[in-house]
Symmetry: C2
Subunit: 395 residues, 2 copies
């Protein structure tokens, strides 16, 4: 277990903290680009509260609205251009994962003369890793991605049908201002997708990481158990602030590096899903909900003991031993039933995806990321045939 860890983001967490946005941003800039999504923050008054708080702190404002789900590189280019034209010196990402991811790449694109798509990992040549970015302040309105406190972003290219990621030290937000009250208006389906998203972030590292990480395992199990306890409460009653708070805290620690430090795992489920949503513009976590259980059944055969541990510690099942594949598969069934129970799809057909392009999904996934042997990194590494089999089993 050799690794490095560094996460300099300053987290301010708690109900009501949105009122501090002006004070916080004023330490990092005098003119903010506020990046938003489809408009919910305007309809529910959050945007106006932010602008008023900024005005009080003598921070002026420019705006880039309309970031779409599966944020597009064209939107990144547009936002970076606004930031330059308006001489912004700080970016506020006010929205969900799409808004935060797009904002991060806008912040780096501000200082980059080439095309920001160069920064996104998408096969040869190697991507340009940005080293400078405008200060980024994240204000999540959804509990899901954990983007508010990490250095990653996922961007889609609608022309080339590619969706992939960038990770760079300069993309760590300076401040993540996380106010769970902002998530209380999130509808049931998006709340459920957020729960699925955060759990999947954790299961990827848990099942694909190196052996011998007992603390990381316990942390991962703790996040999953908490999300499974409090997620359904947040879905049942969106105004349950305690449930919203617990789910949001879970979503942050799921992907800020605390849980998977040193596990060094691949993200095969994410990589496959990215290809699907590049073609079909589905909700990211809906794709994850479909692919993850199918991938688990494939991987359990290779590493039953980890899936047995999952079955025992998450669902309280009793295995006959560490290689009890039946128990492992029962645990996966229970996990899939949980996802179904909170309203997530678990079949590709529910996403209106059939088998006509399955080979292309597998090939595109491998074109974007593969190890030295041409396989998708993970435990086990996946061949094209493996990816096809996992997708077929999820039809």
């Amino acid at each position: 277990m050799n690794f490095e860890f560094h996460n300099p983001t300053h987290l301010i967490f708690g109900a009501g903290t949105l009122s501090r946005i002006g004070e916080v941003v004023s330490k990092h800039g005098k003119k903010a680009l506020i990046v938003t999504g489809g408009g919910s923050v305007k309809r529910n008054g959050t945007f106006d509260r932010v602008v008023a708080s900024l005005k009080n702190a003598n921070v002026s404002v420019a705006e880039c609205s309309g970031v779409e789900p599966n944020p597009r590189i064209t939107t990144v280019r547009r936002g970076a251009q606004i930031a330059r034209n308006e001489h912004c010196d700080v970016i506020i990402a006010l929205g969900g994962g799409s808004v935060m991811d797009a904002s991060k790449v806008m912040a780096a694109a501000f200082y980059y003369d080439g095309d920001p798509w160069d920064m996104i990992y998408h096969g040869q040549p190697d991507p340009y890793i940005p080293t400078h970015a405008l200060p980024i302040i994240t204000v999540p309105t959804l509990a899901a991605t954990g983007s508010e406190m990490n250095m990653g972003a996922v961007i889609s290219n609608e022309e080339s049908k590619e969706k992939s990621f960038v990770q760079a030290e300069c993309l760590y937000p300076r401040v993540a201002l996380v106010d769970p009250e902002l998530t209380m208006s999130v509808p049931k389906d998006q709340t459920a997708y957020g729960v699925c998203d955060l759990i999947t972030h954790v299961t990827e590292g848990y099942f694909n990481g190196v052996d011998g990480t007992p603390i990381q395992d316990r942390f991962a199990e703790g996040v999953i158990l908490t999300a499974m306890e409090w997620g359904p409460k947040a879905i049942a009653d969106g105004n349950d602030l305690e449930a919203r708070t617990q789910v949001q805290w879970a979503s942050i620690v799921a992907l800020n590096g605390w849980v998977n430090a040193g596990t060094n795992g691949g993200y095969p489920v994410h990589m496959i899903e990215h290809t699907l949503s590049a073609y079909h513009d589905i909700t990211h976590a809906a794709g994850l909900a479909v692919i993850n259980p199918s991938w688990m059944r494939f991987a359990a055969d290779h590493r039953p003991q980890k899936f047995v541990q999952f079955a025992e510690r998450i669902f309280g099942l009793k295995a006959t031993g560490p290689h009890d594949l039946d128990c492992a598969l029962q645990g996966i069934d229970r996990f899939e039933a949980f996802l179904k129970g909170i309203g997530c799809p678990t079949r590709l057909s529910e996403l209106h995806i059939d088998d006509t392009m399955i080979t292309r999904y597998a090939q595109d996934t491998l074109r974007i990321i593969h190890d030295g042997n041409g396989n998708l990194p993970g435990r086990p590494p996946m061949t094209e045939a493996n990816i096809i089999a996992v997708l077929k089993a999820a039809l």
Copy 2:
């Protein structure tokens, strides 16, 4: 659950990483003050390896050796003076918790014209919180305090018989270079104390924090379970690198803020222990091992449900309900038996401490830290009589 979190320390973790010390330090300074303790790093060659690596990286060296267990303010003054005289621009803490804590305060004292004791919390007047410090690089040789990746330090004043703490943003180490191989020569008793120390860091937040922190609870339990599984292996065979690695990782996450973020708890066991070791110069964790179970029995009465959770999740006991005090007390007995089993003392008499000065210990503890009502912060807050009762029960 409203809180802020910020830990900018860059962690480099893993067996063999000591070889990177020159490269790492050279990014932060050209002349390093190497701070060491009783001399083990000289006897086992670690010091020479560090100096050679620094030389290769064109970093020159000054030295402050002889930091004692329960590090003294006189030593801090001496180290800061060496750093000034020798025009050092970076401090390397090469040792255990005492060395790291002393180094942090030396680094701040470098920029402070007054007496560094001003920075230590010790009753009226309020302490001076430092805002500047030399860059600090921690290289722990013991898995225990977690000081390598946090902003705290504990210092003793041998004249006034006070031992207390400072916490300041500028005291976060720039880099924690953590090489578990360095801990392989730690003797059995010190290894056991380290395990007790790290577990106690976690139990303090767990039992004294606010309600409604399910993830933090799971994280705390994960650290305790891991320390209880791997600690005895590291004690049994000091050359078991995997056990050393797991215990060291546990000791870091126990006190780097990840486990207790948002729990906002007091540290009553630590505060009482500090008074004892100010008078008796005992090993910190030996004092914790004696006081913690006694404190738990006192606190269980006030908050049985948390102790029932501890008994169930750590020891697999089955309670009749969340207020099953018998089950709670059984869990505490099991915990005390674990400490005894790894070789920790669990009675004051084993530390050669009797009841003659118990009232003074209680009064001194409350003089250094108390809430608005004159009680020691914690759940429940402790009166002088409570502290005396906890100590008497541990005689």
